[in-house]
Symmetry: C2
Subunit: 420 residues, 2 copies
């Protein structure tokens, strides 16, 4: 039979460095050919297991695997898919066991955020309840930085670096235009329930009252009068105002300022478009000329501006999943433990998957300044280490070099009409 194979999959929204974790898994598994066999990557996350679409990563060229660490997006495809509750309906789990058995899978590494760790937890329950031996390790990943137990989440550092750099650059733009033209720049960022990403914009502020002068957090209910007062103050003193607004900002009644009304597979509201909403207020009520940007996917796919710290952590966690599994650890999510902030040192630990699933880490209250429009020194001290260093991808002919992976599927062994 030989050593057991690995099923690795990516889930949820990608980050600039999720494929660095995939690279870490593949590279480290290759170091232990006696204990680990082929690394199969699920095509589109757990859906790849249900459909028996297993990408055989051993068929990729060494050069392409090397390049994998620089790829944005989810190289093997991701998913937003919620497994049913095993106690109510175990059909999907029986299918997973059928597929895992057929492909001799003994290791399950799931790379994702909160919803994905819930999936990993359900798989670990399956392993126990249906008696299928499987080493389940969750590899954290989310730009939202909202997983519990871990000091930070891989992916967040790169998004933070992108957001801080982008608002610094665009603020210089509007600063130069303000004398006779645009006075306000508004940049919308992600972060459904927590202001981690919005707060990262504050890292660009290099002097008191410097840009961005206003950050609108999901944690602070939007007060129009206070907001307008703050913007007008900034325009008066600095000549312009630079604003970072989280998609998750809510009004006094707790409703999202701009809610497109559609839901994703987990029942979350799909948001977007709060920047034009803010512009309309400033234009109609203050006659201020505004420009606005919505960063959307750009903020999580900007591999060209990845944080080296983030990149190294993502790779290390991929490798650590292999190491922890080989040490017999099971049903855990890997965590990053901060040992010290200055100098920044960290190591890798674990947390039980059952405690991780569906728990969102909110931002500490003392990260938001007293007036509610900025970040504190505590927040800077926490975030600055995470954006340190650059990790540029190789460029070719003016653009990042992005190889096309073969993504060759393993031969199917258990065709089941219900799942194909």
């Amino acid at each position: 039979m030989g050593p057991k194979n690995v099923f690795y999959a990516q889930s949820g929204g990608p980050t600039a460095v999720i494929n660095a974790s995939a690279y870490g898994v593949i590279q480290q598994a290759q170091q232990h050919p006696d204990k680990m066999g082929t690394v199969f990557a699920g095509r589109n996350g757990i859906i790849g297991a249900l459909k028996e679409e297993l990408i055989d990563t051993s068929k990729e060229s060494p050069d392409d695997i090397e390049q994998l660490q620089y790829l944005p997006g989810s190289a093997f495809g991701s998913c937003r898919y919620k497994l049913k509750n095993i106690a109510k309906d175990n059909t999907e789990y029986l299918r997973l066991i059928e597929v895992f058995k057929a492909h001799h899978i003994g290791y399950f590494f799931y790379n994702g955020g909160g919803d994905s760790q819930d999936t990993a937890y359900k798989i670990s329950q399956m392993s126990q309840q249906l008696n299928y031996p499987l080493s389940c390790i969750g590899i954290p990943k989310t730009i939202d930085n909202d997983l519990p137990f871990t000091d930070n989440c891989p992916g967040f550092g790169s998004t933070a670096k992108y957001i801080a750099t982008s608002i610094a650059e665009a603020s210089m733009d509007v600063a130069g235009m303000a004398a006779s033209s645009t006075k306000v720049f508004i940049m919308e960022v992600m972060g459904r329930h927590a202001g981690w990403i919005a707060a990262a914009g504050g890292l660009a502020q290099n002097q008191p009252d410097g840009a961005p002068q206003v950050i609108l957090f999901p944690e602070i209910r939007f007060n129009k009068d206070d907001f307008i007062k703050k913007v007008l103050q900034s325009v008066k003193h600095a000549g312009f105002c630079s604003i970072v607004v989280s998609e998750g900002v809510k009004d006094q009644n707790g409703n999202f300022l701009s809610d497109s009304g559609s839901l994703d597979a987990f029942g979350h509201h799909q948001l977007g478009g709060v920047a034009p909403f803010i512009q309309t207020i400033l234009k109609n009520e203050c006659d201020l000329k505004c420009h606005w940007a919505v960063t959307d996917y750009l903020q999580r796919s900007a591999r060209h501006l990845a944080s080296r710290t983030d990149f190294e952590q993502a790779k290390a966690l991929g490798a650590a999943a292999v190491d922890h599994a080989l040490r017999g650890e099971n049903n855990v999510m890997l965590t990053i433990n901060r040992l010290s902030s200055e100098p920044y040192t960290w190591n890798i630990g674990t947390a039980p998957l059952k405690d991780v699933a569906n728990v969102e880490k909110t931002m500490p209250e003392n990260f938001i300044s007293e007036d509610g429009f900025g970040i504190t020194q505590a927040c800077r001290d926490y975030m600055l280490p995470l954006i340190q260093g650059e990790a540029y991808p190789p460029f070719k002919n003016g653009l990042p070099l992005y190889p096309t992976l073969k993504k060759e599927l393993a031969v199917k062994k258990c065709v089941n009409a219900a799942f194909v």
Copy 2:
């Protein structure tokens, strides 16, 4: 009296490399202390001359001048300000001469796009009609790439590199999400009347039918049925669709798809928000889950991803303004002449300001593919040289190092209540 001084100013929307031109002017002027005196930078463009707000660049530290070349935005402030017609009202021109005389200005370098070259042309007329000896040189700059006579405009190459890289990265994101979630990504870019910037998105397409599968150009009237058909085809074949849309796209009647209704100082419509408009169509008529981004100022201030070719050209044009003025050239805009595409070689020439002012260069028809949704090989051959090479700014503590210039103003000598 000594050598004549220089008045240099920046006008219109900044680019990622406009300050590289400023750096070129200052560095080159310093090479000729016998012929050129102080380089004064207008605070907020020509307005700085009218208000006698002249930034004395000799007061900046050599280190800060060195860093100037890496700064986004308009370091000395820009403006959108239209001088009156000299034949109808010469008040402003008399004021300019008063200020120029007082500060011994003999060289006028204006760094801007079409509207700014019009200003430079009016100043050159003033010099002739009011008998004030002044060497007037226009330094081209615009991400819109729409100046005539020059093969390309400094600033465009960096925006093109940013747009192509961003859509490449975000396309990988949506490609990975499409199986169970978002199927369409829409990225809005600038380009009021010409599709140069939108076309740059096409450089990311590395295989036929690759992403971005759809580009919406201002040159092509929007046909909803054809558009939907193309998107659905792409979703069927590739699983997803990646779209670049220009803010300047018009409907069948010639109206902007999304027009905010406000006007800038030149009477241009201020646009923005076509991406959500496109999303609404795809959601309502095809039930496709979309994500959308609006790049706005980010695309012209992304100094962190500047094109080295663009950066070198911007610097060279700044230096060339000095050289041409010292050679006695006058009333011209500098141009970039392409000598060959492979290998890419270029030199610097001139065009008469009178012929440049208010002429917009449109994109050649043969740059847009037959179906109207992509670019041709001719377009790629033209654009690829312009995005070659990287020119990363220095980073410090995780973010680009942006010094704060002193911007010390020269002592005012001609206070005039009408202009302060």
